[in-house]
Every structure is written in structure tokens, then in C-alpha cells.
């Protein structure tokens, strides 16, 4: 790319933010299973925090009671996958032009594919909302490594920690 296109006039911040929120919502909607679990993403700048809304259906141990390890594991996997996909979406939106326009039309890059995912169950999760954040430790062209942690009441007391490797979609 040699000649840069002329800079378009700066848009008001609320319009830019609304567009980013719409793109995030549309991205998450491409994963129906995220909706079944009740996962939503909150965004501050480019940083995402996932929220797993408590529902009785997520219970794995009715005696304690505690959330099911399979449900919280899936929550972290989706947090990592959407977190990675979001970096691609964000980059395209920032790029402007056709790349950003495609995102606006809901044409997203293919989702990263999980290669492996290792879950470390630190403590049981109570019957309430849970939150998670993904940290992308390495984002290569082909492979990415992501660490995710989930917590409930105290950020410093995570109940589940995970690391995973993902295969990134082929075209950029």
C-alpha cells in the first residue's frame, strides 16, 4: 500500500462507539451456543469482559449448589474464541475502507478454531453470575495462544483458569 486515501472527517465518538458495539453484538450472535449459555460481552475500548448470566440450567451440583464444570468450561472457551475474533474484527474496523464496510454488513472473518484447551478448576462456582477475561499471549498469523480466567465476586479469587491454542482463519 503506497498512497494513503485522504483521511475522512473525524466522526463523533458516540457514532464510532455505537458501531463498535453493534459489531461486537453481531459477532457474538454468530455463535448460537453462546446465547444458549447466556453469555454477553461488555466492552471498554477494545477490552472485553464476558458475563455468564446465572440460570438454574447451568447447575451441575444441586447439593452445593455449583455451576457445571462443562458449562463454565464452555464459557471460557467462548470467551477466548470471541476475544481472539474480536481482535481481527477490531483491526478491520480500524483499517477503514472496504474491510470496515464488510464488518458493517456482518461479514466476519471465520472464527478461530480451538486446537487445545486446558481447564484448571480452582474452586467451585456458586449460583450467581460469572465473569471472564481473555488475555492473548501470542497472536501469530497462524496460531494464537490465549489465557482466560473466570471469577465471581472477587477478581483476585478466580474459580476457573484456562489456556488454549487456536488456529487463526487463513485470510488475514
Amino acid at each position: 500500500m503506497s498512497a494513503r486515501p485522504p483521511r475522512p472527517p473525524r466522526e463523533p465518538a458516540h457514532i464510532v462507539e455505537a458501531r463498535r458495539d453493534a459489531a461486537l453484538e453481531a459477532l457474538v450472535a454468530t455463535v448460537p451456543f453462546a446465547g444458549v449459555l447466556g453469555i454477553h460481552f461488555e466492552r471498554l475500548g477494545d477490552e472485553l469482559t464476558a458475563r455468564l448470566a446465572f440460570d438454574e440450567k447451568l447447575i451441575g451440583n444441586p447439593t452445593l449448589p455449583a455451576l457445571h464444570g462443562g458449562a463454565t468450561g464452555a464459557f471460557l472457551e467462548i470467551t477466548a474464541q470471541i476475544g481472539l475474533a474480536w481482535t481481527l474484527v477490531w483491526a478491520r474496523m480500524e483499517q477503514g475502507g472496504e474491510a470496515a464496510a464488510a464488518i458493517g454488513r456482518g461479514e466476519f472473518p471465520a472464527l478461530p478454531k480451538t486446537i487445545d484447551f486446558t481447564l484448571d478448576y480452582l474452586r467451585s462456582a456458586g449460583p450467581r453470575d460469572a465473569y471472564a477475561r481473555a488475555e492473548i499471549r501470542r497472536a501469530g498469523r497462524r496460531y494464537a495462544s490465549v489465557a482466560v480466567e473466570a471469577w465471581q465476586e472477587e477478581r483476585a479469587r478466580p474459580f476457573l483458569s484456562a489456556v488454549g491454542h487456536f488456529l487463526m482463519p487463513s485470510e488475514g
Binding site: H68, A71, L119
Partner: protein
């Protein structure tokens, strides 16, 4: 250790494996039925996913998640999401622990590593088979396979360590450390 991955044979996949039978007195059919019932009825998440317990015997469990369009990861490909595989392998591994002749009172996951070989076939059910191959006093070790029809062509494999809670009143004699 002998071959770590017993293959099911056509007629009676689990019951006919001599190495598994050699593990000791299996649970009675009533006990197995009770574990299966508790797993499906009391564990809401398992029933939410429509999980079905196909067989359960002396540390080996087989479960199925029927294809459900709500659980896809990508609507265009109609492939179940990896998180469904995670939930199935975790649940199936837990059932394997509960059915082990060591007699667990309860279990929970300590850690689980899942390797994804390939996506499931579009519209296909996913079947998991988990084997609790070692139960120590406090910890159970489980490996599992998820496939969509052919166990030799897996979607994913997993290895996990599980908390093994013993029944409260009587303290069992320690077979092993850990």
C-alpha cells in the same frame, strides 16, 4: 500398564472388556441405574444439553449429545460448538469416575485438557466415551474420546484429573497415595 485405550467391540462394548472386568466388583445394575438417573435428572446442565447416558460400567461411561441447531458454533456449517464437546467430555468423565468400582460418593473436575482433532460432521450427534483408568484415594484419572460415529476417527480427546470424594462415615483403606 497394558493398552490404555480399550476399543469397544460390536456386541457389548464395555461389559465384554476383560481388563475392565478385572478391576474388581462392578457396581450393581441398580447402582448404575441410580448414578445414571442422578446424572441426568439432578444435573440440570446435562439435561439442558440433551445428554443421554448410553452405557455405564465399572469406570467406563458412554454418552451422547443429539444434534441440536441451538448448540452450533457456526450456523453456516451446522457443526456443534466446541463448548458442547467440552461439556460432554467433562460430564462423561465425571460419570466414569462415579461408576468406578472404587465407589466414589461425589466428584468434581480438577483439570481437563481437551485436544480438538477436527470439527464434528454437520448435523451429527456427538458421542463420548470416558474411562477412569486409575482411582487413587483422593484423585481419579480419566481419559476420554469424542467422536461422531467412528471412535477411531475422533473429534476430540481429553485427559482429566478429578476429585474423588469418598463416602463420609467409613474411611476406606488407602490403596494408593495422592
Amino acid at each position: 500398564m497394558t493398552d490404555p485405550d480399550p476399543r469397544p467391540d460390536a456386541a457389548n462394548p464395555i461389559q465384554s472388556d476383560p481388563r475392565i472386568e478385572a478391576r474388581g466388583a462392578p457396581l450393581s445394575p441398580d447402582q448404575v441405574a441410580e448414578i445414571g438417573r442422578r446424572f441426568m435428572e439432578r444435573v440440570r446442565w446435562n439435561s439442558e444439553l440433551g445428554m443421554k447416558l448410553e452405557s455405564l460400567f465399572a469406570g467406563v461411561a458412554e454418552m451422547r449429545v443429539p444434534f441440536d441447531a441451538r448448540f452450533v458454533g457456526d450456523p453456516q456449517s451446522r457443526v456443534l460448538h466446541g463448548g458442547v464437546v467440552t461439556a460432554l467430555l467433562d460430564g462423561c468423565s465425571g460419570a466414569a469416575v462415579m461408576s468406578h468400582p472404587t465407589g466414589a460418593a461425589a466428584t468434581s473436575t480438577l483439570d481437563l485438557r481437551i485436544d480438538y482433532m477436527r470439527p464434528a460432521k454437520p448435523g451429527a450427534d456427538i458421542v463420548a466415551r470416558a474411562e477412569c483408568y486409575k482411582a487413587t484415594r483422593h484423585v481419579a484419572f480419566v481419559r476420554s474420546v469424542a467422536h461422531d460415529g467412528d471412535i477411531d476417527d475422533p473429534i476430540a480427546t481429553a485427559a482429566g484429573a478429578f476429585v474423588l470424594e469418598r463416602p463420609r462415615p467409613k474411611t476406606p483403606k488407602p490403596e494408593d497415595k495422592a
